[in-house]
């Protein structure tokens, strides 16, 4: 192949293409396009990996798949289809997770270049680290609706994926979800938790029953509700929701009555909660209202039949239907193995029906506007719109970047952003002026990676350190943790070695303010020095995160309001001006996705050194954005890099 275009490709490039070995991570929307482009450009040795199977909602853009392939491995079908068009290419496929330990350093080192076509941040972080460790150039890409971007990640030359802090996942205080929801999203989160309680993996942090430890309820002593027996986690002691539901055979009336009548009555008894709020109204299974109450049934958007809101009685019947179907599905899967459970999936009809119905019933009870199933699906599934056209554009640019890498012309691999509409310079595609240099303070790609962990050391357990801080936030896979100085190993990647530490508080093992932790991940070939700083645990009503990860300690110093205002304003104006300084941060695909999915919400403006990651994509909005920047809510400003920007929406190719 690619012999007659010899004129277009210089001979060196043609040879480099033939000799190269390429890894494509992901066989979704962008992955299919990339694979096609590679096969059509003369690449002869390609490997592709994807964990996922094909879903109907993929077919509008993932063109290597057809209806008959639904349910099959994406990587395998992508390979098969691509080979029918060019049987001479060697394509190896893996139906597996790229984070699996099979794909270690030596695996990555075999490739000339790695092309990411991923849909989630965890995998992106991992491939980023593997490519840095193996010193293999990585081309990272993402799309969201009409927007997208392509960038090169090369150790020492360019920013790595983690050089810019990514918006953390929005979390909601437990008592808002369980006791006092005030927005539709609170009800949707509750409904998803309920799904997991009933059918999914049970997570004690996802309790859906009233939370009697709500500090607001305990303000005034002698509350009737508090007399009830409850355990130290604030949950009334009783059998788990799952066991109870199974014992009554998922009877819709019984479940409905418990969830939407009895539990609500119980909440009402915590009368301190309702002094300033509209109190909830318990619902009766046999008397469900027909109208779409609480939200003006007349206000239906014309012409959008899929997007109409359901009446509560309709919600009730959908609740019953989906409950029946889901409980049968659970039963069927548990017949194979008792450990089996269902996984919530926005594209599964009954799972989605269940969440939409429950969220709307709860919203009705609390006088919160109801949403259509279509909208709830967007919010619950963090759905990023995805179309064939954008993926084609971005995948084309990914392979063009790969050519430059093979020509060893790395400095020409400037990040490129595809915009929804032209900017003030009439550009639809906006390239950076030069490759963005690495962030010297990056806790991943700096020569000696380090970071500050600000946490209440008397409160956090070793298990929480491992799960929440190291695995979830810092994205290590199998950490070993040692206290610097004493050499004590507090977490070991060897199973069972340090399990005894799990429930101990950090302080009990000597991790206090000033402690230094050495974190190692053998698989990622990654070491990090973590400086511990004491920070008081935020109150339960405070929605700030329970810990912070910072580039340096100075970021902890509070700044006054005025300064913040100035910082964000000038920042807004400067988005286009500051261009190739080391401080420059570009919008990463995750932020981009967030923006698209949450058009209505404003991106939080962060007041620390990294506050210029607003995004170039928006740079023609700077004029009219100015008032919006000023508008940004000071109450929500955190001095952390953990700016809790909205729900994380990484799911653009799913």
């Amino acid at each position: 192949m690619a012999t007659t275009v010899s004129g277009v490709f210089r001979e060196e490039l043609r040879d480099a293409i033939l000799r190269s070995k390429v890894l494509v991570v992901g066989a979704g929307g962008i992955g299919c396009e990339i694979l096609k482009n590679l096969v059509m450009s003369g690449f002869a040795d390609i490997e592709i990996i994807d964990l996922d199977t094909i879903d109907v909602s993929n077919l509008n853009r993932q063109f290597l798949f057809q209806k008959k392939h639904v349910g099959k491995s994406k990587a395998s079908v992508a390979r098969e289809t691509a080979l029918t068009f060019n049987p001479d290419v060697k394509v190896v496929h893996y139906h597996d997770s790229i984070t699996s330990s099979e794909f270690g350093l030596s695996f990555f080192k075999r490739f000339t270049v790695v092309l990411n076509a991923l849909d989630n941040r965890a995998a992106r972080n991992h491939v980023n680290r593997m490519c840095l460790a193996a010193d293999v150039p990585l081309i990272e890409s993402g799309t969201a609706g009409y927007e997208g971007q392509v960038e090169l990640i090369k150790k020492g030359l360019s920013q790595c994926y983690e050089c810019t802090p990514k918006a953390a996942q929005k979390t909601y205080p437990g008592c808002t979800i369980r006791n006092t929801p005030s927005e539709p999203i609170h009800c949707i989160v509750w409904a998803k938790h309920l799904f997991n309680q009933l059918f999914g993996e049970e997570d004690p942090d996802q309790d859906v029953s009233p939370d009697t430890a709500d500090p607001e309820a305990t303000d005034v002593a002698g509350e009737g509700a508090l007399q009830t027996e409850h355990n130290d986690k604030g949950n009334i002691d009783r059998v788990s929701t799952r066991v109870w539901a199974q014992s009554c055979d998922y009877d819709p009336e019984k479940l409905f009555t418990k969830l939407f009548h009895d539990d609500i009555k119980y909440l009402l008894s915590m009368d301190n909660l309702w002094k300033k709020r509209r109190s909830p109204t318990p619902l009766n299974w046999r008397e469900l209202p027909d109208g779409v109450a609480g939200c003006s049934k007349e206000i239906n958007q014309p012409g959008l039949k899929d997007q109409q809101r359901w009446s509560i009685s309709k919600c009730g019947s959908i609740f019953a239907d989906s409950l029946k179907n889901l409980s049968q599905a659970l039963k069927a899967s548990q017949e194979k193995s008792l450990d089996n459970h269902l996984v919530w999936d926005k594209d599964d009809q009954h799972a989605m029906d269940f969440v939409a119905a429950c969220a709307n019933i709860r919203a009705h009870i609390f006088g919160i506007p109801q949403k259509s199933r279509f909208d709830i699906k967007s919010m619950a599934g963090n759905i990023i719109p995805a179309i064939a056209t954008t993926n084609a554009i971005i995948a084309g640019m990914v392979v063009l970047h790969a050519f430059r890498v093979l020509e060893n012309n790395l400095r020409a691999c400037r990040s490129v952003y595809l915009r929804l509409k032209m900017n003030h310079r009439n550009q639809l595609l906006v390239p950076e002026k030069a490759v963005n240099p690495p962030n010297p303070q990056c806790y991943v790609c700096a020569p000696t990676p380090q970071a500050v962990l600000a946490v209440d050391t008397s409160n956090m357990t070793i298990k929480e350190l491992e799960e929440l801080v190291l695995k979830n936030r810092l994205n290590v896979i199998a950490p070993d943790v040692m206290i610097d100085g004493t050499g004590a190993v507090v977490i070991s990647s060897e199973e069972g070695e340090t399990e005894g530490n799990n429930d101990k508080k950090l302080e009990e093992l000597g991790i206090r303010d000033g402690a230094i932790l050495k974190v190692d991940d053998f698989q990622q070939n990654y070491s990090l020095t973590l400086f511990v700083v004491y920070r008081e645990k935020p109150g339960p009503k405070d929605d700030s995160p329970s810990f912070l990860i910072l580039a340096d300690k100075n970021a902890l110093k509070p700044k006054d309001e005025e300064e913040e205002e100035k910082a964000s304003t000038s920042n807004g104006q400067n988005v286009t001006e500051i261009s190739d300084t080391a401080k420059k941060r570009k919008n990463d695909s995750a932020d981009l996705e967030t923006e698209v999915a949450n058009k209505k919400r404003k991106v939080e403006i962060d007041n620390n050194i990294d506050n210029d990651d607003i995004c170039i994509i928006d740079n023609d909005n700077e004029h009219h954005n100015l008032p919006e920047l000023k508008k940004s809510n000071p109450r929500k400003r955190k001095l952390s890099e953990d700016t809790d920007c909205l729900i994380v929406c990484d799911d653009h190719i799913d």
């Binding site: 690619a2 004129g7 490709f9 599964d348 009809q349 006088g367 919160i368 084309g396 639809l428």
Partner: protein, 538 residues
């Protein structure tokens, strides 16, 4: 877990397949897409890439016009042609392969050269929604461009040559109701409240409220109350930054404290302060919308006027009468902290007024249809409602005919002269492509197409360019680099460049079909070597 008897509305397989794109253009956008018939001229690698990205999201039908037989060279950059299809009709094979991508799409082909069709059956193109063309000769391009300009059918011309991508959109006039602006300003009319709103707002007395009520008043009411006070003092709207700051301070002074918990302040007042900037402004018709309403096509409707202009005229009449100088009300409220009842009451007031406004525009539309002798069902009420909701963001795009660029009597070459003065301007590639056109017209091949002809072709291409540039009043090119590069390309197509442009052209086609989002205005050029791109209006 599928169960056929489920009552959920979102159950059709089609909806599930298109779920991710419905979130961009909605059911109505999808419906227009499914009613569209796209014509592709020449199933080159680029052509099939474009069509692929239209078949996947589900256009109704396509027709491929291509008289060529498949050659070995065709197969290479074209994913949809296989080696064993050499010698077969390119239109036929491409049609068959593309149809496999989506069973909802129908497609057919005409195994003829576009030149033949243009001369033998000039009505052939009448029924297409959009025509997309690749690899056209200068002569055919000019004929096709003129024909489609007369028919008022959009034409998108694309080229992928070596590392260069080019796209030109020809539309006589394109009207967009849903432009999907990034920042929509709320339409609240606090400075000029309509009667029902004024009555409601005046019935509320903040001072007499208990704490619980006071902290659940929607911020819009707070804004109105303090704006009223401000205007009483100053006799005008707050305009300057310091005026608005004063207004904010006034609002701040109105915040009450909870007797039990002094730290608990009123969120709705904070929201009101923050909303001063976006919500306090004079209600008026934006300048660009005034221009549309004052356009001759709006004022003087004819029997052939499109729905857009008829509704625009109805809106114009509304503005002059019921609207008292303002557009129909949008009728939507931003989210705000409030108790449900107060919010819903307010929402209803806005909604009802917006309905009444849209109703008035609808009546006027019917009246205009009668005057024009058109059936009353030629415009639907829901389209009028949609128009009214987006009235402050509508857009009219006026284009130019491609054939004019080939007619030295009408072609304004200033844009070329000016842009060539800017270093690295993408305009140089426009010049190169035009030079290549000329070369092709004279020698019937691409420069550098045959390996043994590269050197002589360089000289010939240079001559073509010099002629062209002197016709346009430009000096000769400073460097020969571009000429060498284009001769090296030999007219060959690079798959990744075609894939890139295929996505982009399909995107523009979808914008034209759905009448949503503003299209590229009107020429796009991309250099895949540098990642630079440019947009020009010819």
């Amino acid at each position: 877990m599928a169960s056929p008897e489920s009552k959920s509305p979102e159950q059709s397989e089609k909806n599930r397949k298109y779920d991710r794109q419905l979130r961009l253009w909605g059911d109505h956008g999808q419906a227009t897409l499914e009613a569209a018939h796209v014509c592709l001229i020449n199933a080159t690698g680029l052509g099939t890439e474009i069509l692929k990205s239209l078949v996947l999201p589900g256009i109704g039908a396509f027709t491929i016009v291509d008289g060529k037989k498949i050659t070995v060279e065709d197969v290479e950059p074209n994913f949809f042609l296989e080696a064993d299809s050499v010698g077969k009709s390119r239109a036929q094979v491409a049609t068959e392969m593309l149809l496999e991508l989506n069973p909802d799409v129908t497609g057919d082909y005409i195994d003829e050269e576009p030149e033949q069709i243009l001369s033998n059956s000039p009505d052939f193109f009448n029924s297409f929604t959009v025509v997309v063309a690749t690899a056209l000769t200068e002569k055919t391009l000019v004929l096709l461009s003129k024909r489609l300009w007369e028919l008022d059918i959009p034409l998108i011309v694309c080229r992928s040559i070596g590392f260069i991508a080019y796209m030109r959109i020809q539309i006589k006039e394109h009207t967009v109701v849903e432009t999907h602006p990034d920042n929509e300003t709320p339409d609240l009319r606090l400075d000029r409240p309509f009667d029902s709103l004024k009555k409601h707002l005046d019935s509320i007395n903040l001072d007499e409220m208990g704490f619980k009520d006071h902290c659940h008043v929607p911020y819009l009411i707070i804004l109105y109350k303090y704006l009223e006070k401000w205007i009483l003092e100053h006799r005008t709207l707050p305009k300057l930054y310091k005026d608005k700051q004063q207004l904010r301070d006034m609002i701040k002074s109105g915040i009450r404290r909870d007797e039990h918990d002094s730290s608990n302040s009123e969120e709705n007042f904070e929201e009101a302060m923050k909303a001063v900037n976006t919500c306090i402004r004079a209600s008026e018709i934006p300048e660009n919308i005034k221009n549309i309403l004052n356009d001759d096509r709006c004022i003087n409707l004819t029997a052939k006027s499109s729905s857009f202009w008829i509704i625009a005229k109805a809106v114009r009449d509304f503005v002059d009468n019921e609207g008292k100088g303002l557009l129909p009300l949008k009728g939507t409220l931003p989210d705000m902290t409030a108790d449900t009842e107060k919010y819903i009451t307010l929402q209803q007031i806005y909604y009802k007024q917006a309905s009444a406004d849209a109703e008035a525009v609808w009546r006027r539309t019917l009246q205009l249809l009668r005057q024009l002798g058109r059936p009353s069902d030629s415009i639907l009420e829901k389209d009028v409602k949609l128009f009214c909701r987006h009235a402050s963001n509508i857009h009219v795009e006026k284009g130019s005919c491609i054939a004019d660029e080939y007619d030295s009597k009408v072609f304004d070459t200033n844009i070329i002269v000016q842009n060539l003065e800017t270093p690295e301007s993408m305009m140089i590639y426009y010049v190169m492509l035009r030079g290549m056109d000329k070369f092709q017209a004279e020698y019937n091949s691409y420069p550098g197409e045959f390996d043994d002809q590269v050197e002589p072709d360089i000289v010939k291409l240079k001559t073509c360019l010099t002629k062209l540039l002197s016709e346009w009043g430009c000096g000769p090119l400073a460097k020969d680099d571009y000429v060498h590069e284009f001769c090296r390309f030999g007219g060959a197509e690079l798959h990744s460049v075609s894939a890139f442009l295929g996505g982009l052209a399909a995107q523009e086609t979808i914008k034209l079909i759905t009448n949503q989002y503003k299209p590229v205005h009107n020429t796009f050029i991309y250099d895949a070597v540098t990642s630079n791109s440019g947009t020009f209006f010819f």
